[in-house]
């Protein structure tokens, strides 16, 4: 039966239940046990996924489940990213009393489970289930800071839009099902190939719904409206979570739906993605300029990154997919580092949310300023940081399919985007600090953020390993 292929998912599920019980019945100070168990779970699941890496592709459980390199790789990353997220969450929720509950981790774990299901889903049903399992805890987590009006507002916006999007996705799924009579991705792909022109219109209609549903989760324009509000409104530790790991899962979903299920409709979805990519890059970069809240700015910057990533997918080539994968991985670690920095700079009674709060960071903590500088320049796509090679990879893929104009347009938007990244650096380095309060010294956070940021540099100087990995995932 190959149950061991399911091991990471099963493990996380079991542990989530165990931790739920522990948290309920074992009284603890500072949630230490819950926290450690959660982190341990993530680490172990990552190891299990790692162990499953490079095993032959397994499709089982009546075609609902797939274990391939993409899924294992993304599962590792999801676990890792969540691990980092939780490192930054611990102090954050402890110092904000009403959030300090075990549910935070448990919800997070369930969401991770949803993501894992999503990345290894092989049928429309599992995709839907994974998607919802991932999203529902997220809605709750956004609203966890219960007395915060903005958090609730963000939650309801996220929730309503998310529900709408999954409704659309479902509608598309139902149409595809109606045409092909199947839910298994490969079966659908096969039957579309065989009966090419039959019900083409319905197929395309379904495709459009599916594209909208999946791009919504990624946060591509014009389905991006929730992103800035949620990122800004949610507690920063949740923002890290929302902005990072789910993107990996959503990326996998998009790729499975478009590249695995509907490669035959390539000519139909490519133009859609081109539009989305251009809009995302444009809106993301343009609107980020006008922001004074750094969380919101990073949200818009995230939208633009999704646009660049989409460039890779829309090529419809393996090189493009691997470029997109590389991009999304790079993006996730950049955004992780960016938001983590905000957590690190916040303390009880002070949330580092506005650009102004970074003023003169170089005077207060040169090291952290330097880390943030790396993040910003990586996001801007400057060598020798990983963000540059991410952009390079997608541009390369786009030019390879003779969409040079698109690459030029993307570059133009990158130039516009450069401005606001530079502004962050400017605020940190060139402006005099307004506050001289010491920055709290949490070794774990500092270590993690240093590793994270230096990784951006390291993978920028030696991108080959990661690039090759992303490349091999699709072989």
């Amino acid at each position: 039966m190959g149950f061991y292929q399911l091991l990471p998912e099963l493990f996380v599920l079991t542990m989530a239940c165990v931790i739920l019980l522990v948290d309920l019945y074992y009284p603890q100070k500072k949630l230490l046990l819950t926290y450690s168990l959660t982190q341990m779970t993530l680490v172990i699941s990552a190891f299990i996924s790692f162990w499953l890496l490079n095993t032959p592709v397994f499709i089982g459980f009546t075609g609902n489940f797939v274990r391939d390199n993409l899924s294992s790789f993304l599962e590792i990353l999801i676990a890792l990213v969540t691990f980092i997220t939780f490192v930054f969450s611990r102090d954050y929720i402890l110092s904000r009393g009403n959030m300090a509950r075990g549910e935070y981790y448990i919800l997070g774990l369930f969401s991770v489970l949803g993501m894992m299901v999503l990345v290894s889903a092989h049928s429309l049903l599992t995709i839907y289930l994974g998607l919802e399992l991932m999203s529902l805890p997220l809605y709750a987590m956004v609203a966890m800071k219960r007395e915060d009006r903005n958090a609730s507002e963000a939650a309801i916006k996220y929730f309503v839009m998310g529900a709408l999007a999954s409704g659309m996705l479902l509608y598309g799924v139902s149409l595809i099902y109606g045409v092909t009579g199947a839910l298994d991705l490969h079966v659908i792909a096969q039957s579309i190939l065989i009966s090419a022109n039959q019900s083409y219109t319905v197929l395309v209609l379904g495709l459009i719904f599916i594209v909208i549903g999946s791009l919504f989760k990624l946060g591509g324009a014009p389905f991006h409206m929730w992103v800035p509000d949620v990122y800004q409104g949610a507690p920063t530790s949740v923002t890290i979570f929302v902005s990072a790991a789910p993107k990996l899962a959503a990326f996998a979903m998009t790729l499975r739906l478009l590249a695995e299920m509907l490669p035959a409709l390539y000519t139909q979805w490519q133009p859609l993605l081109i539009v989305v990519a251009i809009l995302s890059m444009g809106i993301g970069n343009l609107l980020a300029i006008a922001q004074s809240s750094i969380k919101r700015m990073l949200a818009y910057s995230g939208i633009s990154h999704i646009g660049y990533m989409t460039l890779g997918i829309l090529t419809g080539t393996l090189a493009g997919y691997s470029a997109a994968l590389f991009y999304i991985v790079a993006y996730v670690f950049m955004t992780l580092a960016g938001f983590s920095m905000l957590v690190l700079l916040s303390r009880q009674g002070f949330e580092c949310e506005n650009l102004e709060d970074l003023r003169g960071l170089n005077n207060r903590s040169p090291w952290l300023a330097f880390m943030m500088l790396l993040v910003m320049f990586s996001m801007a796509g400057l060598p020798p940081l990983v963000g540059f090679f991410a952009k390079l990879a997608v541009f390369e893929a786009v030019i390879a399919v003779h969409l040079v104009w698109l690459a030029v347009l993307a570059i133009v938007f990158a130039i516009i985007g450069l401005y606001y990244y530079l502004r962050v650096v400017k605020i940190m380095y060139f402006d005099a600090p307004t506050s001289h309060e010491l920055i709290s010294w949490q070794l774990d956070m500092r270590l993690v953020i240093s590793f994270n940021s230096l990784a951006l540099l390291l993978f920028g100087i030696f991108p080959s390993a990661l690039l090759t990995l992303c490349h091999n995932v699709f072989l």
């Binding site: 309503v160 839009m161 209609l205 014009p222 389905f223 409206m225 809106i283 609107l287 300029i289």
Partner: protein, 655 residues
């Protein structure tokens, strides 16, 4: 032999350079005495070695020697060297340069005695000698240009020697810029040479000069010009800058802001004559273009007369001499323009001596008067400074071309050469140089009478200290007075009326322009020429000039005042120097600044930077602000945006 010459030349050139470097860099270490000793030693070495060279080259007639020291630039087809050409022309010229320089160095010990920047001054002077020698000795255009600009630089530095004086700072800048205008022509001329000959070496260029005959160049569409003409005129523009020919003469009067020894050496005897030297040096090229010669002649003659006229109206003793220098440079140019290259060079040599003499004598007067240069506050000085008086008189007589002083021979030769010349413009030029003789005598003796004769107007406190200058200043005067008397008499035959002559094969004259050959039959020796002077117009004009000067300054000064009132307009033009300065200041300087300001403000800052660069920045910022409003914060708008997206996609892909 050539090795010996090479080493001699190196010695000549490097001795002043080394002296200059030591005096300049280690000035504080070696002190004032050390500075003047080392530089005088350097120039003395150069002078002595020049004598050897002169002996070898001119008297013993070995030579010419042409050699390269090292390759300066080698690029593709072209090789530019640093090298020397020692022939009669350059050998004679370096003798003059080192001689005058030596005397001026000695003289400066006295003149500059009270100056705090003593060492710097001597360093500059030695450096100037170096640059001038490079200019003279060059065997190719690149080296020539090095010396050419080098003397310009040091002239700039020396005019601005007392840089805290605003007028000195202004004068130096003006001198440099005016020279640069000429140099621009010069460098284009050099570029033309390279284009036509693929080489900058004199030897190659002169050997292949026929190349120029078949070439034309189209500067304005439809108008073909002789390559020779264009090249020569471009080079001549360089000469105009350096030799202060109209309209680039404006800097020379300003250069009087420098110390007087400098005026004597640089702005009278040596540097300013470089233009004449260059035209003579390139006589093979100039001879190929009648147009170019004509231009040289007309400009020279014009400068000769009109700058001389200005000298009459000056009250500053140095400025009078400065305008006289301009006028005499005009004579030289007219001479070479008339193809009497040897006559031009002849005047260059004699003028170098008597003008240096005049300046140094004037300097002596100025020192005695405690740096007052206004002649109206002098007068009757002959009683106090007899040596200066006599030497000044000798200089003045030489300048006024009274036989048998040096200036008579050289100037009369030029006037005769212009008279017999047949190239276009010669008649006009003749009129100019003829009147120039009158004018020269007039302003020279006006200055002479005002300074040394008449009523003593020296302020009382200075009068008490009036006395003759120290020997370091008077000895050079005497040494210069000797050639000012004799040089013409001695040199006229060997230099002008002998074939091949003192300057020998350095000069080329084609038969149809050879005015000297036409004058040859009328020459019967130097003495005869002096005796014959009474029969010639220029002599009587000069005498008339002296008499007029005497009449207006000593006999009846009131007439001058009446004339001034009667011809107020002419006087106004004259004291404004024909308006050249105002024109430059208002049209060129202010115009340039205006253009610059317009380009800067309207184009660079407003259009490119303001509109295009920051404009696009602003546009993006504006778009960003506008688009922000799309994100209204209302849930139903967000949903609506998604639906719009849906409809657009559906409509686009399915309809």
């Amino acid at each position: 032999m050539i090795e010996v010459i090479k080493n001699l030349c190196l010695g000549i050139v490097l001795a002043p350079l080394a002296a200059a470097l030591i005096a300049g860099l280690l000035g504080k270490v070696i002190g004032r005495k050390g500075a003047h000793s080392i530089t005088i030693l350097g120039v003395l070495i150069a002078f002595i070695l020049s004598l050897f060279i002169f002996n070898y080259t001119v008297l013993d007639n070995f030579g010419p020697f042409n050699f390269n020291l090292y390759t300066w630039v080698h690029s593709g087809s072209y090789k530019f060297h640093v090298g020397f050409l020692v022939d009669n022309l350059s050998a004679t010229m370096i003798l003059l340069v080192t001689f005058v320089s030596l005397l001026v160095h000695v003289y400066s010990i006295g003149y500059m005695a009270d100056d705090p920047d003593y060492q710097r001054f001597f360093a500059y002077m030695s450096a100037f000698t170096f640059a001038m020698l490079m200019l003279v000795l060059a065997n190719n255009f690149a080296t020539l240009f090095f010396g050419w600009e080098g003397v310009g630089l040091i002239s700039y530095l020396l005019i601005g020697f007392w840089f805290t004086k605003p007028t000195a700072a202004f004068g130096s800048l003006k001198a440099f810029i005016a020279n640069r205008v000429g140099d621009m022509g010069m460098i284009l001329g050099i570029a033309a040479i390279l284009t036509y000959f693929n080489s900058l070496s004199y030897k190659v260029v002169f050997a292949h000069k026929a190349i120029l005959l078949n070439q034309t160049i189209m500067l304005i569409p439809g108008l073909h010009w002789q390559a020779a003409t264009v090249t020569c005129i471009l080079l001549f523009i360089g000469a105009m800058g350096k030799s202060a020919q109209m309209p680039l003469h404006v800097w020379l009067p300003e250069s009087m802001e420098g110390p007087t020894p400098i005026s004597a050496m640089i702005h009278a005897a040596t540097m300013v004559t470089a233009g004449v030297y260059m035209v003579a040096r390139f006589s093979p090229l100039f001879e190929m273009s009648q147009v170019a010669l004509s231009v040289v002649l007309v400009i020279g003659a014009t400068t000769c007369l009109f700058c001389g006229l200005l000298g009459i109206f000056q009250n500053d003793i140095k400025r009078v001499i400065a305008y006289s220098t301009l006028s005499q440079l005009g004579y030289m140019m007219a001479g070479v323009g008339a193809s009497a290259f040897s006559a031009g060079m002849f005047h260059l040599f004699t003028h170098g001596c008597f003008k240096a003499l005049l300046f140094l004598a004037a300097g002596s007067v100025i020192v005695a008067n405690h740096h007052n240069q206004d002649m109206r506050k002098m007068g009757g000085l002959y009683r106090y400074m007899p040596i200066t008086y006599v030497t000044f008189l000798i200089g003045a007589l030489a300048l006024s071309a009274i036989p048998p002083f040096a200036g008579f021979y050289s100037k009369d030769t030029i006037i005769d050469a212009v008279k017999v010349s047949t190239i276009p413009g010669a008649t006009y030029a003749y009129a100019c140089v003829l009147l120039g003789a009158l004018v020269t005598a007039l302003y020279t003796f006006r200055a002479f009478f005002l300074t040394f004769h008449g009523e003593n107007n020296v302020p009382a406190e200075i009068k008490a200290h009036l006395r003759e200058s120290p020997w370091v200043m008077t000895v050079p005067l005497i040494l210069l007075a000797i050639p000012s008397v004799l040089l013409g008499f001695v040199l006229i035959k060997p230099m002008i009326y002998t074939v091949p002559g003192l300057l020998g094969g350095s000069l080329t004259v084609v038969p149809q322009f050879n005015v000297i050959a036409m004058m040859m039959p009328d020459f019967h020796g130097a003495l005869a020429m002096a005796l014959h002077a009474g029969m010639t117009l220029p002599f009587w004009l000069a005498v008339a000039g002296i008499v007029l000067a005497w009449y207006f300054t000593l006999k009846n000064p009131g007439v001058a005042v009446v004339l001034k009132q009667r011809f107020a307009f002419v006087y106004w033009i004259m004291i404004n120097k024909y308006g050249f300065d105002d024109f430059n200041q208002i049209v060129l300087v202010r115009g340039t600044r205006r253009i610059g300001a317009i380009l800067l403000n309207w184009f660079d800052m407003s259009f490119i930077d303001g509109f295009l660069v920051n404009g696009s920045g602003r546009l993006i910022g504006w778009a960003s602000k506008i688009m922000r409003h799309l994100q209204t914060g209302y849930l139903y708008h967000y949903a609506f945006a998604m639906i719009i997206g849906l409809f657009v996609f559906v409509g686009w892909r399915l309809l």
